[in-house]
Symmetry: C2
Subunit: 390 residues, 2 copies
């Protein structure tokens, strides 16, 4: 049985994602396509515009046979850790191939992944406070491997390749050319494709006008965006402001990734700004990317400490969000070979603070509060009856 994995955020799922799902299945001749998807918070440190159950449903409707959740501890991380979490999860699920979108699909990811995996860990050496970690990593790749990375998906692809090369049994890498829209496009052009960030830009406007979104997303996404309440950072701003103001320095310092005295900047600027965007602007230095700052803001908001992240990473699991008949059949076969616990329903024990999914349950409480939905307890994996991709 041929099994192909896709690493995704679907924030939200658009025509390009659906194309990628189809291409991945076709090119790899997969019997089963598994999507490993971020939960309610995404890699760049933002809440997802639709909750994880809705996005899992969209993935199933767009052709996925199974959707599993990439835990918060791996999802809200820089590219290398995000990639490691996702690749390990897909390998655990028995995937022989991992497919991903790329601006440079012809690139030899396999070889570069092996080269990077062979390098000693360098992060400790990136101590130039005038440059971001990402910039120093790029410079290091440039110097050692003559590798130049300009595109975010290219960086993710290389990160997948490196994480994959570290596996005992690496998977096949399948880069799929991105359609038309490049990731950073901020305006929706005419045509069937636009980037998720361009779509989020539309959603951020009040009142939301979905006219330009309709041509670039499947009907299921359109329906979800029309009927469901999403979460975006501006909505979280009063809570973040309150949190920073009510947290003494010594406590703020304990937040995950709050390093190099960043807590002093937080306490200083919070009294000077009146919006989330202004906060980010005020925090920005040459040392930190916006993505990094957004992740730290999310760790502050969700009260995330190092130990919570470490505990989750040390006790991996497979969290099912949904599947169709094909996925269910494969699941039966997979169960015997899984070494990680398979989580379908969350018991009180699993969801308790010290439980396997304690962190996931806790970070989702805010999502539950804001959307008035259940995200963990009282939920079970979706079963998708549809046979065809819409």
């Amino acid at each position: 049985m041929k099994v192909t994995g896709i690493i995704a955020e679907y924030n939200p799922l658009h025509n390009g994602h659906r194309y990628q799902l189809q291409q991945a299945r076709q090119t790899s001749q997969a019997d089963v396509v598994i999507v490993c998807m971020s939960g309610n918070y995404v890699q760049r440190g933002e809440p997802a515009v639709l909750d994880k159950w809705t996005r899992a449903q969209l993935a199933l409707a767009a052709g996925a046979d199974m959707v599993v959740e990439l835990p918060f501890a791996s999802a809200v991380q820089p590219a290398d850790r995000f990639a490691t979490g996702a690749i390990d999860l897909l390998a655990q699920l028995g995937c022989q191939t991992v497919a991903f979108g790329s601006e440079e699909a012809a690139f030899d990811y396999q070889t570069i992944g092996q080269k990077i995996a062979a390098l000693p860990a360098q992060s400790a050496a990136f101590v130039d406070y005038q440059k971001t970690y990402a910039t120093q990593l790029n410079e290091f790749y440039q110097q050692t491997l003559n590798l130049s990375i300009d595109q975010p998906n290219h960086l993710l692809g290389i990160s997948y390749a490196a994480a994959n090369a570290r596996l005992a049994q690496p998977m096949q890498l399948l880069a799929i050319e991105r359609q038309q829209a490049q990731h950073a496009d901020q305006l929706i052009q005419t045509g069937a494709y636009a980037s998720a960030s361009a779509i989020r830009k539309v959603l951020a406007h009040t009142p939301v006008d979905l006219t330009t979104v309709q041509p670039v997303v499947p009907a299921t996404t359109m329906a979800a965006l029309t009927t469901q309440q999403g979460v975006q950072w501006p909505q979280l701003w009063p809570l973040l402001q309150y949190r920073i103001n009510s947290t003494p320095l010594a406590e703020l310092r304990q937040v995950y990734q709050m390093s190099e005295g960043l807590e002093y900047r937080f306490k200083k600027v919070i009294t000077q700004v009146d919006s989330y965007e202004a906060l980010l602007q005020a925090l920005k230095t040459k040392r930190y990317t916006y993505a990094r700052l957004q992740r730290v803001c999310l760790y502050v908001l969700l009260n995330i400490k190092d130990t919570a992240i470490q505990q989750t990473l040390e006790q991996p699991y497979v969290r099912l969000l949904g599947f169709n008949q094909v996925g269910q059949t494969y699941l039966h076969q997979l169960k015997k070979q899984l070494t990680w616990p398979l989580i379908s329903k969350i018991s009180a024990k699993l969801g308790a603070e010290t439980g396997l999914l304690g962190l996931e349950v806790r970070v989702d409480r805010l999502f539950e509060q804001l959307t008035n939905t259940h995200q963990n307890f009282a939920r079970q994996p979706l079963f998708y009856q549809g046979k065809d991709v819409e």
Copy 2:
């Protein structure tokens, strides 16, 4: 120079308070009347319906010569600690008399205060989990002193008397009969007097209709209530809900007054309720009064730990909110004899986390966020020009 002190919350200031100010001055033949007033959070664990500067202004307009702030660490406390903080502050300010409203003005507060002050501390003995601390204290007073306390202001009066009796040089006690409305009255009756809680009840309704409030408050209070945005618990509810959900048990346990496993109840009920009132109902047991629970909710919301309270109590100060010409003249004379620091303006050092007013600044940040006003930095004591009581 005769100096009389009044302990108040003015939440909000009504005709009964103005009458009390007049009576206190007249009966004690005071040259100077000093009000010691709660800041932005009051004794029963609620935010004040008008901020402390506004309420200080109302006090000056109603006849006070000087207004000082009772620090959060003393203000948001049970009657005995509230009384101790306020009495110590008025004694520091050179008051010879302390006046207070009472439902039983003819009662011999002086004698009972001395008797209570002579008793050994009993709080550690009140361990019946089926009864509130207040109930057990009342029962103890009943047994040892044949004293029965039914009215909240009577309890406060007795607490003032006890705290006063513990002073090296006790002040004169002056109980002033409350006019008409009893404190617990929940409806505004016809006439010039109503309780502050009856007024707050009107303010809690949306939209607010101040028609019934007008006859029972001075014009200055009416103007403030008409033009200023207050804060009430329902407005804080989303923040409290978020706070409880994002705080692990081990951290919640560190909150001031979170004892006897109360943190487990908080974590359990927070997922079952959808309003502040419902939360209080769900938390209520025979062991805790609503006032106690409200204070714990406030400590949770404001992230108050034991150490922060202790540090403030151990380093007392006099915080000026406002004065008139009489107050200013007295202040000049007073400065020489003060043993506590006199705070007019808050410097960066005083307001820093470890500074003398660090806790005050921190708890007020939330008020600043919600009302979009400055509460500490950039404020200086009010100078009231008006010569007469309106």
